[in-house]
């Protein structure tokens, strides 16, 4: 990081906080603070939804994933447009007409208070864990790159987010997200242009795409059906659709975005915008990773992309041997790539190129083994490329993009956590008769509380190690149950409160069982959980619920 990079990065962070505070002024009632007075246009909601969903890890990991594994991750998003259409036709008009602050408030109107309380509690547990992770995971990577302690990074991000979110409410969050999403898109375009621009002069864009494809990095679609394969068209379309239905239809961090719409039409348009833009955006991010892969065919990458661990293993007696093998493998792959292009794709040249690629991957894995058995440096590939090869100013811009992505996700999360805490718990069960001003202050306090919680959770993140993976799994464990209860609410008129309550519990039990006793991909948990909630909900309701006339 050079002086210009620091200026760009801190200039952007100062701008985003100031802009959030400016746009969030006038949030003087609970309705304005939590729902922006229902005044938001579709494009602001659409970009905010996109920004909230796209965490910093999305950019750091996705590019790295494409570098190592190709573009098949894009299939994860194939179900999203279908889910958006379903939500536009069902959840959006229902939530708007129910005149609610939270999705869970609707559940009390439809079922009863205990179902609302159960689902609210599930949301608070799941999203509360995710809020800490949203700060911690990018902070670890940024700290390594910037040379800061990760505590400083989490505290900086947390303080900035809490400042504009607690004062300006959802209006500040949404408009700040708009700016942050614009910066993210600009940063991604610049990164792709630079990755292609930095290729050797004799390598054209067409050559670069051929090399990426020959190495299996452009494998965007796989039609083979396999329950244990995480990413194929079918898991993406079916599992991805259920996941997107749960995330955009039942998760308050997303529902709250489109509840701020001026009208049902504006809210629908914001989701339609995401339905059409999300897949190309993810494809674009993955394609950047593929181009970075091609860049590193001609520029020798380090044995490890993680600079701190690289310094550690340099004192290992086996390092020199690994490094020598890695350098030879790099030279071999570069030579094989040149010959592959010169032969215009001859089968023997292709075979040699793929063999050379495998040898380089093996040498890199040997370097990772020096750190530890389960160590992978995938998350550092993109930032290593950015910090070592991009010009001054652009590096600061890309680091600002990563900060922006982390902050937009966290702001949305703590805002929605505060909303559920105040509306579904505090106002419903603790203090039912207070003034609007009282609930406004409670909302601000809850926002600060959840922001502080996220920062504190992030401080302890590194002590738990495997907890990060566990938290990711925890997120996928709860969505099926949430989705199931909303499907019951929308489509099964005869199902009553007891059926819904028991259904959620049974659905969650089924998901945990699937996680513990089977090897099916986590994308299918949502399908399993949702179906169990529906079946048990209908059965219990027939047996125990008294029918309304």
């Amino acid at each position: 990081m050079r002086p210009l990079d620091w200026i760009v990065m801190f200039g952007w962070l100062a701008f985003i906080v100031s802009y959030g505070l400016y746009r969030g002024r006038g949030s003087t009632t609970v309705n304005k603070y939590l729902l922006a007075g229902k005044t938001m246009p579709w494009y602001a909601m659409g970009l905010s939804i996109m920004a909230t969903q796209a965490s910093a890890i999305t950019f750091i990991s996705t590019t790295g994933q494409s570098y190592t594994d190709g573009m098949r991750f894009v299939q994860f998003y194939f179900g999203l447009p279908v889910a958006m259409v379903i939500l536009c036709a069902t959840a959006v008009p229902i939530f708007h007409r129910a005149n609610v602050y939270t999705a869970y408030e609707y559940l009390e109107k439809r079922f009863d208070a205990k179902t609302r309380a159960l689902v609210s509690a599930i949301f608070l547990i799941q999203r509360g864990l995710a809020a800490g992770l949203s700060l911690y995971a990018p902070a670890v990577v940024l700290s390594v790159i910037l040379g800061w302690p990760d505590r400083l990074t989490t505290i900086l991000m947390g303080a900035l987010v809490v400042t504009y979110t607690s004062i300006g409410g959802i209006k500040a969050v949404t408009w700040a997200d708009v700016q942050q999403m614009m910066l993210i898109l600009c940063g991604l375009i610049i990164a792709l242009v630079m990755a292609i621009h930095l290729l050797p002069p004799h390598i054209s864009f067409s050559n670069a795409v051929s090399l990426a494809g020959a190495a299996g990095r452009l494998n965007a679609v796989n039609l083979h059906f396999d329950l244990n394969d995480r990413y194929n068209v079918w898991s993406g379309l079916i599992g991805g659709m259920f996941l997107a239905l749960a995330y955009f239809g039942c998760d308050q961090s997303q529902v709250q975005r489109y509840l701020t719409g001026k009208s049902i039409a504006q809210s629908r348009l914001s989701l339609i915008f995401n339905a059409m833009a999300k897949i190309p955006m993810q494809f674009f991010i993955l394609f950047i990773g593929a181009m970075v892969f091609v860049f590193f065919i001609f520029a020798q990458p380090p044995v490890l992309f993680q600079p701190v661990e690289l310094r550690h293993i340099q004192s290992d007696p086996n390092f020199r041997a690994v490094e020598k093998r890695y350098e030879q493998a790099f030279a071999g792959r570069k030579d094989a790539a040149e010959k592959y292009l010169a032969s215009q794709g001859a089968p023997q040249a292709l075979s040699n190129y793929r063999d050379a690629q495998r040898e380089l991957e093996s040498a890199h894995a040997a370097g990772e083994q020096l750190v530890g058995k389960d160590f992978h440096d995938t998350n550092y590939i993109f930032l290593s490329f950015v910090t070592h090869y991009l010009p001054a100013g652009i590096v600061g811009l890309i680091i600002a993009v990563i900060f922006s992505a982390a902050m937009s996700s966290t702001s949305g999360e703590i805002n929605s956590l505060a909303t559920v805490t105040v509306i579904d718990i505090y106002r419903r069960h603790v203090n039912k008769q207070a003034t609007d001003r009282h609930y406004l202050m409670a909302s601000r306090f809850a926002t600060v509380f959840w922001g502080a919680y996220a920062v504190v959770f992030a401080q302890f993140g590194k002590n738990f190690g495997a907890l990060i993976e566990a938290v990711n799994i925890v997120g996928s464990l709860f969505y099926g149950g949430l989705l199931g209860v909303f499907v019951l609410a929308f489509f099964f008129k005869k199902v009553g409160a007891n059926g819904a309550f028991c259904g959620v519990i049974a659905g969650e039990a089924a998901i945990f069982a699937a996680n513990l006793f089977t090897k099916i991909s986590f994308l299918w948990y949502n399908v399993v959980g949702c179906l169990v909630v529906i079946v048990v909900g209908v059965f219990v309701s027939r047996a125990f619920d008294r029918r309304t006339a």
Binding site: V85, A98, E108, R110, D112, A212, A220, S263, F490, A497
Partner: protein, 78 residues
């Protein structure tokens, strides 16, 4: 000028449950007093005339995107 259609609980999505409270379940906590029903404006989309057409367009778009990605994968498969 577009004609706005006022849509209530008995509007286009009337086959879906619109939210009357079920207050008499035995395991329930007390429910709050029912809020007056709010009439919400449901506008047509700014393009393609009806929301149904927009949805069909999005699904066709998805099909084209997947097909495009599939052809892209095939074209550059090793």
């Amino acid at each position: 000028m577009q004609v706005r259609r006022l849509s209530t609980a008995k509007g286009r999505a009337s086959h879906l449950w619109q939210g009357s409270p079920a207050a008499c379940y035995s395991w329930s906590l007390p429910t709050p007093p029912e809020q007056p029903h709010k009439v919400v404006i449901d506008e047509p989309p700014p393009f393609l005339g009806a929301w149904r057409n927009v949805y069909i367009f999005v699904l066709c778009y998805l099909f084209v995107v997947i097909l495009g990605f599939y052809l892209f994968s095939r074209a550059y498969a090793p």
